[in-house]
Structures are given as structure tokens and as C-alpha cells.
Symmetry: C4
């Protein structure tokens, strides 16, 4: 029995949440789950339909994207996942979808403004949209540079990947992450709902104001601050 069986199961179940939550159709998207002690991560095989995906199809690769276990080719986005795991030491899972409203904002090449407390309950800034990659980089090691593109976007905007667990790639779609693979899927669903709410808000009022700082701070702190009183912990 593979020593990666539990990791594969975790990765499989997180992947299957994407179609269950209405975030992907066909073969779109992928989720990975990392085991930092073993120096590997599990990821969806490339181009496999969720309707036929099985736990044993999940591929185990190391941080150089070499296959450690599995007979299938890993997701074509594997290099992006590997880049983020190497750069950001505290994340345990990564999700990528082509969810409709998230993609629409990415195609519009606009950050999603923080319009309300639904947003502020989870993050205190606009959801960043990274500009499309330069032509030279696209021709090169594309999926590797996609990871670089995400990290550069966070550096330029002065964002913390531990506070903002999501990004839109211009003209492409969302990547989200978290302490676990399941949390990264949660963030994909959250992002899609925030994208939909912000879209509707601007349709009703194109001049809708951003949420004021006092409310951003309040909602974040009651849930994540040192005197947080939301939830059971």
C-alpha cells in the first residue's frame, strides 16, 4: 500500500468538491495537497473528467515536478503549484478553477473591490487581478512563470499570502490557496460568490463606494483579530 494513500485521498476529495460546488465543468481546474515532510504534493492528472476521476489517478510529484508515484501525467498547471509551494512555506493546498464570475473579472482585467462585510469577513483588501504576462515569458516556461507572476503581483501590491488567499490572473482565472486543500477549495467558492456580489453591486450602482476602513477593520478583527469572538475557538 502506498504511503501517499491518505494524501491522494485528501487531494481527490478536494478536487471532487469543485464540480459539487458548481465551480468547474468538464476537465477544468485542479486542486493539489502538499506533504511538506515528504517534500511532495498530490495533484489532479491532466485532462481527466471529474465524472471518471478516481483516488488512485491522483499523481504524486516532488517540488521539481518529477513524478514520484502515479501512472498518469500530472496537471499541465503543476509547475505553477510547485512554484507557490516553494515560495510560500505556510500553504497546504492550492486550487485553480474556471468559475464563471471569477473568470469574468479576470477577463475584465480588474481587481474586485471590497464592497461589503461578506468580503471583509475574510480579507481586508480588494481581490488582486495580476496583469497578463509579457510575451517573452509566455513563450518560455509558461506555467513556472505563472507562479512568478502571482508572487510578483503580491510583492508589488504589498499583500501577504497568508491574509489574502486568492488571486485572479488577467485573461485566465482564479488561483486560491490555504492551510489545507479543503480550505483552498473553500476560498475558490468564496471568491466566486464575492465576484458575483461585486458584479451585481456595480450593475445596480456604478458609483458604489468601497467599504469604509472602520468596517473593514471591525469585521476582520471580530473574526481574525486577537480578541476575535466569531466561531467556536
Amino acid at each position: 500500500m502506498s504511503k501517499y494513500q491518505e494524501l491522494k485521498r485528501t487531494c481527490y476529495e478536494a478536487n471532487m468538491e469543485l464540480p459539487a460546488q458548481g465551480l468547474v465543468i468538464f476537465t477544468f481546474g485542479n486542486v493539489s495537497a502538499v506533504d511538506r515532510q515528504e517534500g511532495v504534493f498530490a495533484i489532479k492528472p491532466s485532462g481527466v473528467d471529474y465524472a471518471v476521476l478516481r483516488p488512485e489517478d491522483i499523481v504524486i510529484v516532488d517540488f521539481d515536478c518529477q513524478v514520484v508515484e502515479g501512472t498518469m501525467r500530472p496537471s499541465s498547471d503543476t509547475k505553477t503549484h510547485a512554484f507557490l509551494y516553494r515560495e510560500w512555506s505556510e500553504i497546504g493546498g492550492i486550487s485553480h478553477t474556471h468559475a464563471t464570475y471569477s473568470v469574468a473579472w479576470a477577463q475584465a482585467q480588474q481587481d474586485i473591490p471590497i464592497f461589503g462585510t461578506t468580503h471583509a469577513d475574510y480579507l481586508t483588501s480588494d481581490i488582486p487581478c495580476a496583469p497578463p504576462m509579457g510575451d517573452e515569458l509566455i513563450k518560455g516556461n509558461y506555467e513556472h512563470m505563472t507562479g512568478q507572476q502571482i508572487v510578483d503581483c503580491f510583492t508589488e501590491k504589498g499583500l501577504s499570502y497568508q491574509e489574502v488567499e486568492m488571486v485572479l490572473l488577467g485573461n485566465h482565472g482564479p488561483f486560491t490557496w490555504g492551510k489545507t486543500a479543503a480550505k483552498s477549495v473553500f476560498n475558490s467558492k468564496l471568491l466566486e460568490e464575492l465576484a458575483r456580489m461585486a458584479y451585481l453591486t456595480l450593475q445596480i450602482n456604478p458609483d458604489a463606494p468601497r467599504l469604509k476602513e472602520a468596517l473593514i477593520k471591525k469585521h476582520w478583527e471580530r473574526k481574525h483579530g486577537k480578541d476575535a469572538y466569531y466561531g467556536q475557538n
Copy 2:
């Protein structure tokens, strides 16, 4: 056996209607049910996912928000519920959601105009959107002041809480209430549908007129007036 068992069951079932009606995802929202004779109300515990919520998880608190029965922490919005129960003596249940179209109007900071008879069948005024709270109040007893904010909004606009059983909090989302917890959930669903219809109406015709007074009066009276002939009572 707890003397609050039936109250907990009522509260539990009303809470479970929120995801069943598509009004919340994750842990969003909460419903409470009051027992005025006992001077307590039952409310959803804070941050618990509907998928795992059980009747015995419901928390019983008094009107000062002290836990009377239950091992979990009550909703972070408990003080808002308590405020409304104290101020408005005829309500039996309160619901709070982050339903998409309701939140979009709240984020747009606009009242929902009364555009048609679907709206007038239930209330005769626009659905009020309370302006965001002042910064000083936010830093203080926030959830208590949220209740104050709702009551102030009704006072300023001259609205009766028994005729208008719903409000939008600017940048936040909807609170609804009614004679029972189930009725407050009904009102959350109704509000979401009216929010969606009004949104579409303005997309088709930005100059759509408000419903004329004669029709507002007629539809309200045939359902709620002294010679009402709608329904079986």
C-alpha cells in the same frame, strides 16, 4: 430533558431553511426564535456550518445575551437580535442572511423601489437600506449598535416594523423578522426575490416608474386590509 427543547427545534428548523432556500453558503447567516414568557431566545451557534449543525447545538440566551443553556458560543450577531427583541415586542423570530441580490442592493446602498404587485402584496413601501454606521459606533459595541441602527432607520423613515418586516444594512446585508422564526425566513426569501426582480427591472428600463399608489393600496388591502379576500382566513 431541557424545557427549551421545542424552542431549539423551532430555531434549528428555521436555520436549516436558509441553505435549503439558497439564501446562505458555508456558515453565513443565522436565525433566532424567541420565547417571551421565559424571557429567552434560541439562536444559531457562531461559525458552525449548516452541514453539521444539530438541534442540540442551538444556544439559549436571555435578553442581556447571557447564555442560559448550551455549550457553544452564540452567533456573533446575538446582540443585534437581543436589541430588536427588546425594542419590538411583537416579533417572534429574526433572520440574517448574506443572500446574493439582497447583499448587492445593500452594497449599492440603495433602497429597493416598489416596482410591482409582487412587492405590494407584502409591503407598501420601498425596502429601506440603512446607511453604514458612523466610525465611533463601529469601534464600540458594534452588534448592539447594529440593532440601534435598524431601529433608528425605521424611526427616521416613519416605518412600522409590523408592516415592513425587512431592512438592508448598508454594505452588509439583510435582516428580516416576523411573528415566528419561520415567517422571518419566509421574509428573507421574499426579499431576495424582490431584490432580484427590481435589479432586472432597472436593467431593462433604468427609468421604470414606481408602482402607482392605487395599485399599492389595492394589493395590500386585498391581502391584509379589513375586507381582505386573499387566502383562507
Copy 3:
């Protein structure tokens, strides 16, 4: 056993199609089915939730709206149904809904333009929106005058009720009809889909042209003309 049992069953099943097709929530809407030989029609009781509606709850009334059989109060819209059955001798069923996109067009007080062949496969004109009733009429026999309002709209626009089996009432919502109750429900669903397509069309292109006459004629005739070749009859 009631001699109206089959009529009640037909009416019940047509009513239950409204929530099944996503056209109503709560107690919204109603369907009736006529028996012209007996001079009666069956209709939904007023204010009863579809979730608890039973075939035996259906009310039988004559064309003067007198209850012939049944213990419940008939729909508050019964007089509108009666008016249409009296005026239009060839219709066998009538549906009324508060379906979202249909209501949005009614609230926008605009006819739904004929933009494509989906529309022309079923009717050759825009879907008419009757203007809101005058104040004096509203105060009088409102539901009776609603029937008059529909017939007047068709007379003024020179429409045939046998060719155009649907109308929007300004600020209210749709009424549809047909040779049977089931056909009237079909028309409610068709109208909702045409309303949604037309809404999206104008969002994409505010100057979208109406379908040209040659295509209107072709699609109508291949399905309903004397040399029709659509379908199995």
C-alpha cells in the same frame, strides 16, 4: 364521487408544474382548467402553498365565480379567469405566475420584442405589455377589470388570442392561456425563457434589431402554416 374529479386532477397537475418548472415560489400564481359543457372551471384555492396543495383542494366555480364544489375559497384572481373564459371561447386553460424575468419586463412596462426564431416558432408579434389600469377601475371590481384590461389590450393592438397566447400586465406579471391547462403552463415557461433571452440580448446589444419579417413568417409557417412540416402531425 364528484363528477369533477378528472377536471380537478387536470387542474391540480397543471398547478404543480408551476413550482416544478421554477415559475413560482410560496403561494404565487394559479392555473385553471375549464369544462365548457358543464359551464364550470377548476382553479387553485387562494393562498395555499404548493408544498401542501392536494387535488381535493381544487375549487370548482361557474362563470359567475360562484363556488359549485369545494370547501376552500378560490384564487383571488378567479374573476380574471372567468372573464377570459367568457370572452375567449376557444381557450381551455389559463395560467398566472410571478416568474422573475416575466415580472421584470412587466415592471419595466415594455413589450418583449421578437428578437429571434425561438420566439417566432411560437408567435409572430412582440409579447404585449398592457399598461397599468386607471385608478378608478382599480378601486372597483379589480380582478374583473383585469380581464377587461387584457381583452382591451388585444383589441387595441389587433392581436388574436389564438395566435398570441400570453400577455404581461404592467407592474404585475404574466397571464398565459391555451387549448388546455397544460398548454397554458407550457406558455408560461416559454414566456419566461423568451423574456430571459430578450433581456440578455439587449444587455449585449442595446440596438439589437427585431427579427426580419421573412424569418418571422418562415418559422411560423413551417410549424403552424398549412404546409407545416415541424412535428409528427
Copy 4:
């Protein structure tokens, strides 16, 4: 036992995917599957509701639209299918739907711009919208000329039917095709999702730029180029 039994089954299952994927209601749409060795294709019978469609109802016709096997009348669009099978020798199946967002773009008479990588993963050009047919042609052999209209559109725009497996007919709706009937249904679903994403993109940003050439090329080549690395083959 009919020698076309397997062909009928293939055609039946592809047709049933249309309502399962939410692409049609009622009797809308049709799918065909070709057997080029036998010189015939299987197609949905005209005007039959998907709820009652059976495999044995599927009609077998030759490329001149003569019925070879079956007791029902074939789809009224049969001549369009036959035209495309004769002109384009490499296609194995054709789908036609009235899916909502696809129809909205067709009614808006606009090509769907290539806005993102979801689009570029499958085709490198805008999705073409053929202009409505001239009045003289409509009066003649309409469904035959619809096939001509599609082929002319591809010729004028310099498109390859093997690279672009979909088209919108102005004021009508989408036709899609592929190596198999199942692939043509996949393309109908893909088109509907791209239509929805592009619609939302323009609502958020009316000046949203087309995807840049370097990204179009990259996404196409990683999936379909000679060094493709997407998928398992």
C-alpha cells in the same frame, strides 16, 4: 434487429445530454450522428419532447434526407445537417440548441470575442455569428440554405471547420459539430459557457481587451500543438 441499432443508440444518448446539461427545454434542439460507410445519419425525430424520446424513435436518413429507417418524421433541421455532412467530410456529429446565452449573442448579431484562456484552450478565433439569410433564400429551400449560410460564413472569414467547431446563426442560435455526436454536444455546452463568460466580462468592462496573440497561441499549442502536454495522450 436493425443494423443501425448502435448508431441510433449513439444519437439517442447524445440528444439526451442536451436537457441533462441544461441546454434545451421542451422539444428545442437536435443532435445527429453519421455513419459515413453506410452513407446515412441518425437524427432526432421532429417535435418530440425529450421526456418521452426513446432510442427506437431516432430516424435514419441518407444524405439526400430520404428516410432509410424509422416511422417518425426527422427533425425539421435535417437538411442543414445533411448539407454540413456533405461539405465537411471529417465531422461525425452535429448539435443544434436554443441555449440561452448562445441565443442571446445570436440575437445580438455579434461574434463572441476571445477574451480569455478558457476560450483559447479550445479555439483561437472569435466565435463567428453568421448574418441572417437574405429574404429570397428564406422563401426557398430554407434549411438547405442554412447549411450553405454556415459554410459561406466560414469561407468568408477564412475559418477551418476542424479548428472552429461552432457557429452562431444570426437571430437563430448555435450549431456545433465534432468528430463524434458526443463531441458536438460537448461543444454546445462549451459555447454556452464561453457565451456566458463573455457576456459578464463586457458587463463589468465594456472595453475589455481581446486575449493577446501570444496567450492565444500558447494555450492552443499546449493542448493541440505538436508538443502538446495537456491531457493523457
